[in-house]
Amino acid sequence: MNVATFEVNLPRGAVVFLPGKGNTWLEYLELIKYLNEIGFTVYATDLPGQGLSSRLSSDPYRCI
């Protein structure tokens, strides 16, 4: 499972972000940047078979 961590100094909390089917956290960099700016550490994940996570099938271009 691919997880990207975007830490800030003295965070007010942590946000775990789970994108939808077919999506990757890479599409949400603006959201992640904004959450960092308001003081949250962000853990952005890719569901299995999507984005930078490992594939469930032998075809790397299919998400399922």
């Binding site: 499972m1 942590a14 946000v15 775990v16 089917k21 999506n23 603006e30 904004y34 550490t41 994940t45």
Partner: protein, 152 residues
């Protein structure tokens, strides 16, 4: 072990080893079909997170119904695994449900690129409304929080 069980196990290990060790207020943002994994985790570990927000591009309904719809969509993806926590316990306790809100993104912005662009604005509204500070919030007629729905 099914793909769904394996992923929930991996996710739980990630949470225990990377996130919870830092003892910080924890929020989940689940967008569309990304919700169920966080939701399953929340049912198993309601004491470990502060609040969860389910973001839907289509509608805002109470959390349980929201997840039922999503289950129908992602069921095949997750293998329709009936051993997962939500399938075993669809009537999770009110304490857990009270921590979960659902929010409809503007329907006309349901295209993926627009959603990604719109989310910072959405979260900005949440901050303005005090969602992260535990305040009740209301975005208008087309949205409602599951917290208030659960109390009806």
């Amino acid at each position: 072990m099914s793909d769904a069980q394996r992923y929930l196990k991996d996710f739980t290990e990630f949470m225990d080893k990377s996130v919870l060790l830092k003892d910080q207020p924890l929020y989940f943002l689940g967008h569309s079909t990304g919700v169920p994994v966080g939701f399953e985790y929340a049912i198993l570990n309601p004491q470990k997170f502060k609040r969860m927000l389910l973001l839907s591009p289509l509608f805002a309904i109470r959390a349980q119904a929201f997840l039922r719809v999503l289950r129908g969509i992602v069921g095949p993806f997750l293998g329709n695994d009936t051993t997962l926590p939500f399938q075993k316990n669809p009537h999770f306790d009110k304490v857990t449900e009270s921590k979960i809100d659902s929010f409809s993104l503007i329907p006309r912005l349901q295209w993926r690129w627009a959603l990604a662009k719109n989310l910072p604005n959405t979260i900005s509204q949440l901050v303005t409304k005090g969602w992260f500070d535990g305040w009740e919030w209301n975005f208008g007629d087309d949205t409602r929080s599951s917290t208030s729905t659960a109390a009806e």
